[in-house]
């Protein structure tokens, strides 16, 4: 006999289902009055540092149809590359920027839209610098476990070339699935769940 490690198993995921809005953005689905405002609506305070950007896009299924019941969360560093989190030990992030946003895609068009600031660079564990990026997490009916991915910036070609995560993508044609389109400050990031244009999703 040996000692037991005593680890617990992570609670298994289940789909967010079609009515995720009731729980996470009730004011969007006509359940007003329980919360004064949905969480994650506003990321950027008036006094936040950095250049304002918008990120818009759609989430497409394997038939190329925009998904109309997805919920997206993003998480990113502030303009100086610091996260507004207790686990950030390199400095203190901009108090006027939350770094976290949540958006229920439009029920008719499937479009999403975030108003945020362009993130600064964040180091990889080995000390190399990662290119500016925004972490995405996507849930919806039919998605059994939330999908993690990242958006990188089209105007950061040199930084993207040196980015340790992008460098790990074996099939180089797929790198483009993580790089937004659009023209600064208006970026477009379309996410494809399946098919030829399938976005690179992360097990991270």
């Amino acid at each position: 006999m040996v000692q037991t490690l005593g680890y617990l198993k992570e609670t298994p995921s289940q789909t967010a289902g079609p009515y995720v809005h009731i729980g996470l953005t009730p004011n969007v689905c006509d359940i007003a009055g329980i919360y004064p405002e949905d969480l994650g609506v506003a990321m950027v305070g008036e006094r936040a540092a950095g250049s304002r950007i918008t990120v818009t896009g759609h989430v497409y299924d394997g038939a190329g149809t925009p998904i109309k019941d997805a919920l997206i969360e993003i998480w990113q560093a502030d303009a100086a590359g610091l996260y507004n989190s207790p686990s950030e030990t390199r400095g203190t992030a901009d108090p006027h920027f939350t770094g976290w946003g949540r958006y229920a895609v439009d029920g008719a068009s499937g479009a999403f839209r975030f108003e945020t600031v362009k993130p600064g660079r964040v180091p990889y564990p080995d000390g190399r610098s990662m290119a500016p990026h925004i972490s995405f997490w996507i849930v919806a009916r039919g998605i059994n476990i939330g999908l993690h991915t990242r958006m990188y910036f089209p105007d950061e070609a040199d930084a993207n070339t040196a980015d340790p995560l992008l460098a790990r993508i074996e099939h180089r044609t797929r790198v483009a699935t993580l790089i937004a389109a659009g023209t600064p400050p208006h970026y477009v990031f379309d996410i494809h769940l399946q098919g030829e244009k399938e976005t690179v999703f992360l097990d991270i």
């Binding site: 992570e10 394997g62 560093a77 207790p86 686990s87 770094g99 029920g107 998605i143 993690h148």
Partner: protein, 249 residues
Amino acid sequence: MFDRSNQRPETGAFFARDRQWHPPAYTPGYKTSVLRSPQKALLSLGATLSEITGPVFGHSMLGALDNDLIHNHARPGESAIGERIVVHGRVLDERGRPVRGALLEFWQANAGGRYRHKKETYLAALDPNFGGCGRTITDEDGAYAFRTVRPGAYPWPNGVNDWRPAHIHFSVFGHGFAQRLITQMYFEGDPMIWKCPIVNSIPDRAAIEQLVAPLDWGNTIPMDSRAYKFDIVLRGRRSTLFENRREGN
């Protein structure tokens, strides 16, 4: 907010996710997953600061009735119809440590199995006094509790005759974005659990049982509410004591 001044910041990377324990993306018994499942391999790599960090939420944002679904959408002096229950438990990590300050958001159908949502078409009646959402934040022990009515089962368009067992949806924020989790809680003794294609997207019976909350007789409130206990486990963090570090870190 808690006083974390005496605690070292949590900077360890998370344990790798056991993808055999979670449902796979493609589960054809649950038809909507067929076109919404990535087919290419996930890109696996160790967590970076972008995943180790995450937003935190303070108790100050909570309203007095946020954890009381019986009353948070009810007219003054009235309450939601249904079997009154308390759901409580702890949020732990895989090392068994309490996750303090975790934001839990939950949503559910009413006692008749009807959601308050514009896309919902089930013929069961809405309850004017039931909204169906609530939230709370765990305390120093990782503990949480809320009050609600037991949700009803309901039919859904998948197979010709598929029904969801009674369930409550949970969304959980730990301390890192990589811990983000959405799941569902089921009720002990419900025979419909084992007929459900969404439940059965999870391959391992022991993993499904981790989602079934037992009746907690000890915490039942006499003449008021029965209690169900539902503990939630988030990814654990590695100890950082001997991690390779660059000079100066």
